[in-house]
């Protein structure tokens, strides 16, 4: 597919701030499933900082906006050619060993209920079918309900209340997979929603599970599928905070209002 993205994030401060610092992971990953046609990230009044590809293969770019400033706009536009690789992250270069993604974080800490859920996949025949099974179990256990959770909600909390959004699905799946000894990580990106799709935000998140012999494979419990040509992958991390496309701080901030709009469209079939 040929997908176009227009993603605008606007930060408004009730009083001018002295400076805004950001670290972006807003560039599509380099792997066989996607090819960038054009891609631009702009930051209003922004001064670009260091740029590099990190050990997990993500392109990271620092930004700084000199104050006083009371509004900052980050705009991402571009087009990407995508292929359906059935979720397999083929041809992605990274140096971080998969084992690193067995480590629990506060957001992905397993409690008794998570362990209980994960164990239901114990009889699976091999790592790949176990990963599929876990993804199904999480989809069944956590109903998609926008607004039911916050950005701080943990995997255990989402599972306990039985509802959440894509971030919660991803966290729950990661927590379960790690408990079963499978390295798992959080992936942030975009999703093109076609007419039949479940409603969701175009700024999307899912999980990747490492399967020996196959490598990293994406699973999206929120849509009960593996990422295909409708998905654009940006970056990964141990959890949502670690994989955030934008991390930022403002110096001298009193209160911040965040406004995000994302449009992902298909330009041709």
């Amino acid at each position: 597919m040929l997908l176009s993205v227009d993603h605008v994030t606007r930060y408004r401060y009730d009083r001018p701030v002295r400076a805004v610092m950001q670290s972006h992971r807003l560039t599509p990953s380099k792997f066989d499933g996607q090819k960038v046609r054009d891609w631009t990230v702009t930051v209003s009044d922004g001064i670009p900082g260091g740029s590099f590809r990190d050990g997990a293969g993500d392109r990271v770019q620092g930004w700084m906006v000199k104050g006083p400033v009371s509004e900052v706009e980050v705009r991402v536009t571009g087009t990407v050619e995508t292929l359906d690789l059935a979720g397999v992250l083929r041809g992605h270069r990274e140096v971080v060993p998969p084992e690193v993604y067995l480590v629990e974080t506060p957001a992905t800490q397993a409690d008794a209920a998570v362990v209980e859920l994960a164990k239901r996949a114990a009889g699976a025949d091999g790592a790949l079918s176990m990963a599929h099974r876990l993804s199904e179990l999480v989809a069944e256990a956590v109903a998609y309900k926008p607004g039911s959770t916050q950005s701080q909600t943990t995997a255990a909390e989402a599972l306990a209340q039985g509802q959440g959004v894509c971030q919660d699905h991803a966290h729950a799946l990661i927590a379960c997979a790690r408990r079963m000894g499978l390295p798992a990580r959080y992936v942030s990106g975009y999703l093109f929603a076609d007419a039949e799709g479940v409603p969701h935000e175009a700024a999307h998140a899912w999980a990747e599970i490492h399967v020996a012999g196959l490598g990293w494979v994406g699973f999206d419990p929120a849509n009960r599928c593996c990422p295909d040509a409708r998905y654009i992958r940006l970056g990964s991390g141990l959890d949502a905070q670690d994989a955030a496309p934008i991390r930022g701080v403002a110096r001298g901030v009193v209160s911040e209002i965040l406004d995000v709009t994302v449009a992902v469209q298909s330009l041709q079939q």
Binding site: A19, M21, Q22, S23, I47, P48, G49, G50, S51, F52, D54, G55, A56, V60, Q61, G62, M64, K66, V95, V96, P97, E99, V100, L102, V103, L238, Q241, R247, G248, V249, R251
Partner: protein, 470 residues
């Protein structure tokens, strides 16, 4: 009854390095000693050096007792220690470069991958990064104990930001002021070159993007930190700026320092802040101590951070066991300094030995610290030993065991005169373009009779440490 190696007396005779000190000691009347001790304390208090060593807790404003009786090494003893310390510092750095690149030592099966990659000190954020000159740990503090004339053991490595070096410098300064004659009679190697060598070491690892004379700063968490005195002391002696996070900012590809003459580019940051706090955009988002965006500049080669983020994965208690293996693997050499023999209760053979000899051993939890969850066999009752046996059996993999070490003693001034007390040693090895070691270090002494615990929170003090010129 355990035999302890007395560093001054052997078989009723004075060992040569201490010969002149015996005369000095005998010639000193008790009144003078009391007077001098009070003078030393007064000097320390005036300097303001009252912090707890190694963040071991206790009253931060309490003065750590200073013992005037120096601890002495011969040039030959030191030469061997120096070789061993430098060898270890090289191996630890080679290990760090390796585990953040290809992980050859793990692939070769010489170090278990779990210990490295699931270690909480492993920083995924720096994987693939090779810091300037291939150095992660620029100041390696190696804790060493002595058990015999030629027997030295490494207790622990400190690859992050080992503290206490200001004591090494101040102890010497105060001794020279109080007993100038001693420094005329004995040929003692100087330690006051440390700040200059430290500055040179830091400057030598400036990033490639830096052209011209590198600007070095010391980044402190601030005056409420227990080691703040040391931070300001070292910055002052090195002639570099002492800064807090708010004094620095990131703009473009570099880190800048606010000065009265406008922003000044910073090339090397000697940080005394933990990894978790140095950049809220990469690590803990709630940190107010760090510099937002610092890690992006570091990772794109705009600034050097000393020690490099992620260095802690080499000084973990469980990784410690494998340092001799690192020496063999990376350097192709045999380790000069030995580790304390360690039994891993997770291994069947080791477990059997530990259970058979429990009352003689020290048993620790792999991830325990601060002396909690620990058994000191010789100092425990039969009941305590037995209940600990049950704990080990329930989860053997969680325990390691070591022999109870017979720490050497050196003469120490006590209320009754002079008496042997147990000591350890922390030298500070500097690693940059070159590896350098100032002849000396920090000697800690257990002031309580019979005590093997040198921690200042438990009645430990410090001494001047001499290396005699050959």
């Amino acid at each position: 009854m355990t035999q302890y190696f007395n560093e001054m007396y052997q078989g009723g005779k004075v060992r040569p390095p201490y010969a002149r000190l015996e005369d000095w000691m005998k010639a000193m009347p008790a009144e003078l000693r009391t007077l001098k001790q009070a003078e030393a304390e007064d000097l320390f208090r005036r300097i303001g050096i009252t912090f707890a060593v190694y963040g071991e807790g206790g009253d931060p404003d309490r003065l750590i007792p200073f013992d005037m009786f120096p601890r002495v090494f011969t040039g030959a003893e030191w030469a061997r220690l120096e070789k061993g310390i430098k060898q270890r510092a090289r191996a630890l750095n080679a290990f760090l470069v390796d585990v953040y690149q290809r992980g050859e030592i793990v692939r070769a099966g010489r170090v278990p991958s779990r210990l490295v990659y699931q270690n909480e000190a492993y920083e995924k954020a720096v994987a693939g990064i090779k810091p300037p000159k291939g150095v992660y740990s620029h100041i390696v503090g190696i804790d060493i104990v002595r058990t015999g004339p030629d027997e030295f053991f490494v207790l622990e490595d400190n690859c992050r930001t080992p503290s206490g070096v200001s004591y090494m410098l101040e102890n010497r300064e105060i001794m020279m002021r109080m007993f100038p004659d001693l420094f005329r009679e004995n040929r003692i190697e100087p330690v006051d070159t440390y700040p200059e060598i430290l500055r040179r070491t830091l400057a030598s690892v400036a990033p490639e993007k830096c052209t011209g004379e590198p600007t070095v700063v010391l980044l402190t968490p601030g005056h409420f930190n227990s080691a703040y005195y040391e931070h300001s002391f070292l910055a002052d002696l090195m002639g570099v700026e002492l800064v807090e996070g708010a004094d620095l900012f990131v703009q473009g590809e570099f880190v800048w320092m606010r000065t009265t003459e406008g922003p000044k580019k910073v090339d090397v940051i000697y940080r005394r802040i933990d990894d978790a706090f140095i950049d809220p955009l990469c690590f803990r988002p709630d940190s107010m101590l760090g510099v937002p965006g610092l890690m992006d500049v570091y990772r794109s080669g705009g600034v050097s951070i000393c020690s490099a983020p992620g260095a802690g994965v080499a000084d973990d208690k469980a990784v410690y066991t494998f340092v001799p293996e690192m020496v063999r693997f990376y350097l192709g050499e045999e380790p000069i300094l030995q580790n304390v023999p360690t039994w891993q209760c997770g291994k069947a053979d080791d477990l059997r030995y530990v259970l058979d000899n429990l009352s003689e051993l020290v048993v620790k939890e792999v991830h325990g610290s601060g002396g909690y969850g620990m058994l000191v066999g010789p100092k425990s009752s039969k009941d305590q030993v037995e209940s600990f046996r049950a704990k080990i059996l329930a989860d053997p993999g969680n325990y390691i065991a070591q022999p109870t070490l017979a720490l050497s003693t050196t003469p120490t001034f006590v209320a009754e005169g002079v008496a042997p007390r147990h000591v350890d040693l922390r030298p500070y090895c500097l690693v940059g373009e070159r590896i350098e070691l100032v002849p000396g270090g920090l000697t800690r002494v257990a002031l309580k009779e019979g005590s093997l615990v040198v921690n200042s929170s438990q009645g430990g003090g410090v001494k001047d440490t001499w290396v005699l010129a050959e």
